[in-house]
Symmetry: C2
Subunit: 145 residues, 2 copies
DNA sequence: TATTGTTATACTCTATAACTATA
DNA sequence: TATAGTTATAGAGTATAACAATA
């Protein structure tokens, strides 16, 4: 008896989840290294240098209340990682841009988060390439859907 | 010029992280469906039926303070999903066991969490099997390390 | 006296509601 | 009057410290 594709997919997905679960402390760890809360790390890394957003847009993107965006951005501003920039066309709107220090911190944090587990090196280069290709394909499909 | 293995591994890991990122809302969603906080869901699914632990052991496992374990277990007990069982050998120690309702809830929640994204079906069965095999290998290596 | 777990309390994170400034 | 963001405030979640019961 052969498995149906959905069951094979379920096995594969379960392996992804279980692997992530075993690494879930990493995020908290990185936040502590930088003296930030996990929420502030999440905020900092989602501030894209080439696509500065306004407070309101951040609230939607982060799926939280506008008042909480104020709270998060306040701390990032205190840390010198971001600053509010009133928009030219409408002075109510404030765009959040990363400072040079913020850019540096953000990319250092991303490096730490993307740091692969040692165990990944047990795979061959061919297996690693196949893995990347497969998961990228899935993510692109997910983004479309 | 060919890439070094560590760089290929970094690409692979990044693809895992990015994929998970795109699904991070799922956990919160499931928690809401069950009228639980994410913390309580995390607690419930980590209570293994075949390996009941005491409060103190849960505090280490969950990397939180003992007083917070009290808080979490209180809610699970109120919901009827778990109960405290004073240990025979030392009546200070309380072992937390899942009730029948807790067992049912736990496995239903796990089913929801393990539910694969539609997009995974874009991969062939062979690709899915390779994915599972590779990630399982990594996780086993990580557990050893 | 030392240890397991709880209670009292305070601090952090997050949301809701009232407010200010601009449009 | 409506909208962008902030301030005041209250509710969860989490920790620290003092405590009770048992060892």
């Amino acid at each position: 008896m052969t498995k149906r594709k959905v069951d094979v997919a379920a096995d594969a997905w379960r392996s992804v989840i279980d692997l992530m679960q075993s690494r879930k402390h990493r995020f908290l760890e990185v936040a502590q290294e930088w003296g930030l809360t996990p929420g502030h790390v999440q905020a900092l890394i989602s501030l894209e240098p080439e696509n500065a957003l306004a407070m309101g847009a951040l609230a939607s993107s982060w799926k939280c209340d506008a008042s909480h965006v104020t709270f998060l951005v306040d701390r990032l501003e205190e840390k010198g990682y971001a600053k509010r920039q009133p928009a030219k066309h409408d002075r109510r709107v404030k765009t959040i841009v990363l400072t040079p220090a913020g850019l540096t911190a953000r990319s250092a944090i991303l490096d730490r988060l993307y740091e692969p587990p040692e165990a990944l090196l047990e795979l061959s280069v061919a297996e690693l390439e196949a893995l990347t290709e497969a998961l990228t394909k899935v993510r692109l499909a997910a983004d479309r859907g």
